[in-house]
């Protein structure tokens, strides 16, 4: 079955929980699951990270390739973000071309990082008009128990901030760290049982409704927003989520910075 079954009982139970300010696993409304973040975990990638949020586990890998700059931007390189949710990550994920949901996931995570401007593509130029670096961020889900959005976004930025441009391998010079000027953090909220919660688990996602993804930069600038799935929310609800995203964003940003060696 490609569309997961949503037992109706789950939805009514989630409503009862929400009415009593409770969640399936005992967390608070805006509390995240146990979080692990590691960097430099992939020997063949030029930057890498692994994130575990509850039972959701993902890898991010940064690879560099050279490219010919686009004619209208001769002094710029490029950034590409690709997210893959392969069948390994869950029973509900089947082999085949990417679903609309996984394409949305990929693009939302891409925008969160790209729009922050944390990677200056002008700084990726090697020979103007001829050669530039292309930074490719691949996000790979190993286990999907909900909220791949935040897991990918966190792993992605952590991998980028620990990436080293392999200039030696390409015989262009010495290896040098990739310059990443900001740390955009995504926080995702899903309406479960009638109210928004942070870091929805797999079952909450299954029985939940619309989602909102907010990516904020270091100075709490807003870099990207996305509302997904069916449902409507109010301005008041949104304001509350923005405030929560700022708090949580600060926390996660500190965590990423704590892992940086030479940056």
């Amino acid at each position: 079955m490609s569309i997961p079954l949503v037992p109706q009982l789950l939805r009514s139970h989630l409503k009862e929980l929400a009415d009593n300010d409770q969640r399936l696993d005992g967390r608070n409304q805006y509390q995240g699951r146990d979080l692990e973040l590691e960097v430099n975990v992939l020997a063949n990638a030029e930057g890498s990270a692994r994130v575990r949020m509850g039972d959701t586990i993902v890898f991010a890998g940064v690879k560099f390739q050279t490219m010919t700059p686009y004619p209208d931007r001769p002094n710029e390189g490029g950034l590409m973000c690709m997210a893959e949710v392969r069948p390994v990550a869950g029973r509900q994920h089947e082999a085949g071309p990417p679903s609309a949901a996984s394409i949305e996931l990929s693009r939302v995570v891409d925008r969160g990082i790209r729009e922050s401007g944390c990677i200056d593509t002008a700084g990726l130029c090697i020979i103007p008009g001829e050669k530039a670096w292309q930074v490719i961020l691949d996000l790979f889900a190993v286990s999907d128990d909900g909220n791949l959005f935040d897991a990918f976004a966190l792993a992605g930025i952590a991998a980028l901030r620990n990436a080293v441009i392999p200039q030696e391998k390409f015989e262009i010079g010495e290896d040098t760290p990739l310059v990443v000027s900001k740390t955009p953090i995504m926080c995702s909220y899903q309406r479960v049982g009638g109210r928004f919660v942070f870091d929805a688990s797999g079952r909450e996602e299954l029985g939940g409704d619309e989602r909102i993804h907010i990516t904020l930069g270091d100075d709490n600038h807003v870099h990207s927003l996305q509302k997904g799935l069916k449902g409507a929310f109010t301005a008041t609800e949104f304001t509350e989520l923005m405030a929560e995203a700022r708090k949580k964003g600060d926390e996660l940003r500190k965590m990423v910075h704590a892992l940086e060696g030479g940056n």
């Binding site: 949503v6 009982l9 009514s12």
Partner: protein, 236 residues
């Protein structure tokens, strides 16, 4: 990459010999698939073992168990295989004009024919009786190799589940949950003041007030964590 003992030709253990089977004692121990458990002579094969060329071999990862003359391996984890008479909790995944397809957590779905359902409906009115996504408490009526298992809702206590929560645990933990002669489960029900019905397929129906349900769920979580920590091979 942490260094570990590398396999060298000069320190290969003599114990394993690819050429032939080994003798072993009948003491309970942990075994893995393919491990030789001795001569078939005088013994019967139970669960998780197979007889090949007069020798008994483990086919699962788990603890050996000798019960009389039957040798078996109790696996840490096993898929639920339906047997006639099993009480199970199922989710309706689909239906036609007169049957429902029910996911009972087995290798293949079960069917619930209209004649064994909770109520009669007009031909084509199946979904008005039980809709897709609903949960039911039912019993396995028959299991046959050439077609799906059949479940029935005709029987005492069998019904649509209209309230409460459904939790899932590994079927092999059911024994621990229920306890000797149902002791542990009775105690859980009393303390949480909830109705708790355990299906053979590892699905549980918890019906009670909100706090009680939470208590049951917490207890299930810690039981699963304990089992993982205590049992060999269980890694969080």
């Amino acid at each position: 990459m942490k260094g570990v003992l590398v396999a060298r030709l000069d320190n290969m253990t003599e114990k394993k010999n690819a050429a032939g089977p080994q003798d072993s004692q009948r003491v309970p121990r942990l075994v893995s698939p393919g491990e030789d458990l001795g001569d078939l002579e005088g013994y019967e094969v139970g669960h998780g073992v197979i007889a090949i060329d007069g020798r008994i071999r483990a086919t699962k990862n788990g603890q050996t168990n000798v019960n009389g003359t039957t040798i078996s391996v109790e696996p840490r984890r096993t898929a639920y295989m339906p047997r006639p008479g099993d009480l199970v909790i199922g989710f309706v995944e689909g239906c036609t004009n007169n049957i429902w397809f029910v996911d009972i957590g087995a290798p293949f779905n079960a069917i619930l024919p209209m004649s064994l359902g909770p109520a009669k409906a007009d031909f084509g009115g199946t979904r008005s009786v039980i809709d897709i996504g609903e949960a039911i408490l039912c019993r396995v009526q028959e299991v046959e190799e050439t077609h799906s298992s059949v479940v029935t809702m005709k029987g005492m206590g069998l019904r649509k589940i209209r309230s409460g929560a459904i939790e899932v645990i590994d079927p092999h933990l059911l024994g621990r949950l229920i306890g000797k002669q149902g002791q542990a489960l009775r105690q859980l029900k009393e303390e949480s003041e909830c109705r708790v019905i355990a299906g053979e397929n590892g699905r549980l129906w918890i019906d009670g007030d909100f706090e009680g349900t939470l208590e049951v769920r917490t207890r299930l979580r810690s039981m699963t964590a304990e089992a993982k920590a205590a049992t060999p091979g269980g890694v969080a």
